[in-house]
């Protein structure tokens, strides 16, 4: 199925999404990758607030290339999500609604997705020039010293993603292997 959603995602949006659905997101998403996640993790340990309102937020695992003059952002494709697996379950328990990345997630992340009725989306890895066209504005809101790894607030229009893990825990990567594998793994 194909859906167009305006953020934030509502319960009823999440309820219809199944692994393999193509979704176009419009609204506000936040970027954070390795270094920003570590800082958020340390902030929570120290009892400090997070630099963004995590409730119902969408985090895009992405560190852009620099923007040329007159453009909101440079190349902007997803990074490998598994490096954020250590941090994701806690953020999901705090209200994070969806993550956009690429690649497999741990069982702990999948369980946290089911527990909180969230979604793990993939964007197409290595399509950073194409994906940048769906980003209309970008503003660094925290950890500016981290450069490309700073937390950015992005305004996106019809940003194309695919549901990899849905709120029931179905995983598209596993389903795809079952469907398309032509011989047993040696």
């Amino acid at each position: 199925m194909e859906y167009h959603f305006t953020l934030p995602l509502r319960e009823e949006d999440i309820a219809v999404l199944r692994a393999g659905d193509v979704v176009y997101l419009s609204g506000i998403i936040y970027t954070a990758r390795d270094a920003a996640h570590k800082r958020m993790y340390d902030a929570l340990r120290a009892g400090q607030p997070l630099p963004l309102d995590i409730r119902d937020a969408v985090i895009y695992y992405m560190g852009p290339s620099p923007a040329r003059e007159g453009r909101p952002i440079g190349s902007a494709g997803p990074t490998t999500a598994s490096r954020m697996d250590k941090y994701a379950p806690e953020l999901l328990d705090l209200g994070l609604k969806a993550m956009i990345g690429k690649g497999r997630r741990s069982e702990q992340v999948r369980e946290a997705i089911i527990r909180n009725r969230c979604i793990y989306f993939a964007a197409v890895g290595g399509a950073g020039a194409l994906l940048s066209k769906a980003i209309k504005a970008s503003e660094v809101i925290a950890y500016e010293d981290l450069g490309t790894e700073a937390i950015r607030k992005l305004t996106v229009e019809n940003f194309p993603v695919i549901v990899v893990i849905d709120a029931e825990g179905n995983n598209l990567y596993d389903i795809a292997l079952e469907q398309y594998r032509e011989e047993a793994r040696d």
């Binding site: 290339s65 993939a122 950073g128 020039a129 398309y180």
Partner: protein
């Protein structure tokens, strides 16, 4: 002796950084186009079409193909008749990377220390592999490497008794483990033989060989073909979303090795297998 001013080296490397991050070589584009025509899985085909659009946008609007513009890797073959003037060769190469990544709006992805992790701010230092060859030319190959796929690369120190079956198993294990993480369709660089570090460098070098130039060694060429077919029956598919396009090519390089060993390195690259080659 032929004199080469290192300023020329810097300018050339800076240009190559920008070129390689915005334009794939014709063999890579050709392989992607062929795959998009052939792929039957609906989502897989959609991914390949997005990658074709992405390449077009990257070249037309000068937006890097991928935001991970990589750690810069340089293979520098220096003819022994060459005399560099005007400064230090190593510094000239690093300056080329510094300038290319700064002037070209490329991402700075290098940290000064693997554990304190402070970004150097200019994507240096590059990893440089030098070799001295005959003649009076300098050949520079620039191959930036993104880490989504680099992280999925492996080295296997096999036993001679493991033989070719062991090599096949090693390659397939690395590819299956990489799966969707390495941004398939992948290009697989394999080094067999040498020592621990030699096979790793061979596997990296293998990624810079044009995809339409199979190995000249008959058994290696057969192995490349067999591995490509097997990998494309794995089901992983474009983006890991399922299909028959998991790899675009398997390039294998070999080197003599020790009586006691059979090292195999598998350097996995994503579909953005970038490189530029220039001769001075």
């Amino acid at each position: 002796m032929r004199e080469i001013d290192v300023k020329k080296v810097t300018e050339t490397v800076a240009e190559m950084c920008i070129e390689a991050n915005h334009f794939l070589t014709p063999d890579m584009k050709e392989a992607l186009n062929r795959a998009a025509d052939r792929e039957k899985a609906p989502l897989g085909k959609k991914v390949l079409e997005q990658l074709q659009d992405n390449l077009k946008i990257a070249g037309e609007d000068m937006i890097p193909i991928c935001q991970d513009t990589g750690m810069a890797v340089l293979f520098v073959e220096v003819g022994q008749e060459v005399h560099f003037v005007g400064g230090d060769l190593e510094e000239a190469l690093q300056e080329g990377v510094r300038r290319g990544y700064t002037d070209g709006f490329l991402r700075k992805s290098v940290v000064r220390d693997p554990l304190d992790r402070v970004n150097t701010g200019d994507n240096t230092p590059a990893v440089i592999h030098y070799s001295i060859v005959s003649g009076d030319k300098v050949k520079i190959t620039f191959a930036p490497k993104g880490f989504g796929s680099e992280n999925m690369s492996r080295i296997f120190m096999l036993k001679p008794a493991d033989g070719i079956e062991g090599v096949k198993k090693a390659i397939l294990t690395a590819v299956h483990d990489a799966g969707p993480n390495a941004c398939p369709p992948m290009v697989i660089g394999v080094g067999i033989g040498g020592t621990f570090e030699k096979c790793a460098i061979l596997s990296k070098k293998a990624l810079t060989r044009p995809l339409d130039h199979p190995s000249e060694i008959p058994y290696v060429r057969e192995l490349e073909q067999e591995m490509l077919e097997k990998i494309n029956r794995s089901g992983i598919g474009p983006g890991g979303l399922g299909g028959s396009t998991t790899a675009l090519a398997v390039n294998i390089e070999t080197y003599p090795t020790h009586i006691a060993g059979l090292p195999v390195a598998v350097n996995i690259c994503c579909h953005v297998n970038r490189h530029a080659v220039r001769e001075l």
